[in-house]
Subunit: 224 residues, 2 copies
Amino acid sequence: MQVASISTTYRMPRMPPDSPYDPMESCGTLRSYAAGETICSQDEAADYWYRLVSGAARKCTQISDGRRQIVDFLLPGDLFGLHVGAKHDCAVESVAPDTTLLRYQRQQMESLLESDPQLARRVREIAFASIDRMQSRMILLGRSRALERVCGFLLEMAHRAQVERDGTVTLPMSRYDIADYLALAVETVSRSLTTLRASQVITFLDTRQLRIVNHRALEAHCCN
Amino acid sequence: MQVASISTTYRMPRMPPDSPYDPMESCGTLRSYAAGETICSQDEAADYWYRLVSGAARKCTQISDGRRQIVDFLLPGDLFGLHVGAKHDCAVESVAPDTTLLRYQRQQMESLLESDPQLARRVREIAFASIDRMQSRMILLGRSRALERVCGFLLEMAHRAQVERDGTVTLPMSRYDIADYLALAVETVSRSLTTLRASQVITFLDTRQLRIVNHRALEAHCCN
DNA sequence: CGAAGGCTTGATCTCGGTCAAGGCAGGTGG
DNA sequence: CCACCTGCCTTGACCGAGATCAAGCCTTCG
């Protein structure tokens, strides 16, 4: 199980295989969304925690100059909606068709944590872990080269979405989404991918599915 | 009181004025550093939590191409060193002369949290809050324009370091540090500041001290 | 069938990185 | 005390990576 926030994605440290039980399991309600639907909007009250079950979503803010910044992608297992204040500061929208989420009452969760230090510890670790991820992301954004960012993104996706047995990585989001995630122009993302394909680092099964041929090269590009 | 991590800065929500007591107060040990000293290095074991009392520090990673990315600046009140794993992934170095820190045993803190849900909740909120800050920072880094980033940085500093009564903002760090924080070249930072000064948005008392003349314009530049 | 959205490629322009130089302050040693 | 050095900051000139503009292809959907 994993946790995130409207303002960030928290990844749950893997549960011990025979962990006694998950007190959160019981109290969520399921809902599913079509592609492009808004799950919660930018200035909505943050009364719920969500956990993405299947599909994919993007957490993004609108910038006043018309551009859009995608702060995080949410993948199956991610939990989000945790927030300090009462308001969200990012909108969350489904990316893939048939995206399903579990929704939890925030109040209920908080009092649950109050009485269950074990669970509280797990959530704390989730938060710390998520911070590590955001930090990596910041370092990625700090990179000057467009190609480096794209390589870093591919490695992140390959790592997060558990790769198929044959090494196929599926990108549930569009090139536009990737561009806004990496703070690049779509054209630049496209060109970078083309470059990587041309240099035999990756191959495409179709536009949204690729295989990493030369993992070493990918890491070398976004070295560190 | 405020908290951060080797991998992030956590800002403590303001304590209620007459809060009963702070269980963490008792168990820290004080140490002070000269400018440029290493407080903890990149792959050191993360056995302590730290809280910056006075001065300033930078949290940074070395990138293999020789560049340096500053992940966060630590200011008085910030707490850092919280970390999931056993290892740091960033070095922390003092920036200002006479930087002092309190150091806490990580083990001790964790068991303290285990037995004190109230404190645990506070730390959790610290983590959530810090995530909000990192998110803002990511949005800042996502901005294309150099001038926007610098404006955002100035607003952040004005907000974090409590401004003097007369509106003077002190930058404890060098232009090089600012550059590595914003992922820009030093020259670009310098030029941006010059531009802002030329357009009467800010004035300088000296290189490290400035006053925000036109707050509105600053916000307009990094709109949103 | 047409329209719309997603993706790629080409051409051009611009912002910011890089290189180079010089000013200024503080520290050190003669 | 001055001379020198070093680190920090600023400014100018140039160049290149990536944004922007434009066009065309493909798939999907009504």
